[in-house]
Subunit: 200 residues, 2 copies
Amino acid sequence: VSDVADRRYHHGNLREALLERAAEVLAARGAAELSLREIARDVGVSHAAPRRHFPDRQALLDALALHGFERLAEELTAAAASRGRTSFRTRVTRLAAAYTRFATADAALLELMFAGKHREVDGPLHEASDRAFVPVLELIAEGQASGEIIPGPIDRPGTVLLASLHGLASLINGGLLAGATVDSTVPATIDILLDGLRPR
Amino acid sequence: VSDVADRRYHHGNLREALLERAAEVLAARGAAELSLREIARDVGVSHAAPRRHFPDRQALLDALALHGFERLAEELTAAAASRGRTSFRTRVTRLAAAYTRFATADAALLELMFAGKHREVDGPLHEASDRAFVPVLELIAEGQASGEIIPGPIDRPGTVLLASLHGLASLINGGLLAGATVDSTVPATIDILLDGLRPR
DNA sequence: ACCTGAACACCGTTCAAGT
DNA sequence: ACCTGAACACCGTTCAAGT
């Protein structure tokens, strides 16, 4: 068994193996306790081997964050796909639930994704986060077209919605909202937001 | 000079000196790069000396977070103190500006304060965060009393406001809001929120 | 091309010993 | 009571060397 595994690392999938194990450790213990050497050990490779695929520890963390944004984009896209005839409010609530579910399922990953480590305006991480937010902004645009959301630059209502969802998830993850759960707060929050975002 | 400084550490202010230097390093380079040994060196003490005051690294980080919540409480309290006759909307906007100013002034401190490290419902950190939010909830209660905020449990509108402010600050700190600044987004966000929170 | 092993400079934590 | 110095087990990073 082990020689087969060893061989496969020489065939180009060490990178994936490292990422997979790193994601597990991240979710279980957080980025601060993620050790490159430990992950190399777990995966059965020398501590210097990861260097071929990730020049340093931050590069591995960046790759985890990038993967997180890609998964978030997928889940938001899936949630935004309207199944049958559903009201605008329902669709927004579904998208919001998908966002907060993702965010609260892995608090350490969320922190890593939104940490101020990569404030460069360029870079693949920034592009990935932009892509992840596309379904949210598209839904807002639809709402504007159908007259359920105030007109004007899409960033205005878009930012409010994104900030609210992200803040809600952060507060829940931080344990700062006493007995609040996603299910109990998301619909109430969306109600209030949609009312504030209604044309007037 | 140095023997005076050395003497003073023996008089009970090493703890303060460590916290002060740690806060500087946190703001400059983030929690991940905060080294206990380096701070001890900077402050002119052996690497084992901090142990009297902070049993481990996390205890120092917790103390920094606690101090952050205390400062946040002070600034929010100051911002909530109504100077002259000002509209409810103005007062909320001032409070929101104070929150986001604090949050964006030191991104690393904000991350530390709201990190999911201390999810225990008890503990001094949780109490400190509760205290910091008091001015926000009080203002909401006033708004309810004067009929400018929807009635009902205060957590409902309170959570929405707190989540929006915190999310806005986090997104700005993470560089995920293209050209957004606090000054440009806070008033617009408050307008939308107050509309959504208005009785109907 | 991809990985190993030794080496370097750094950690956090512990503990006997000093004053 | 408070701090020091040595020790331990870990890091991330680098680089010559192996296959």
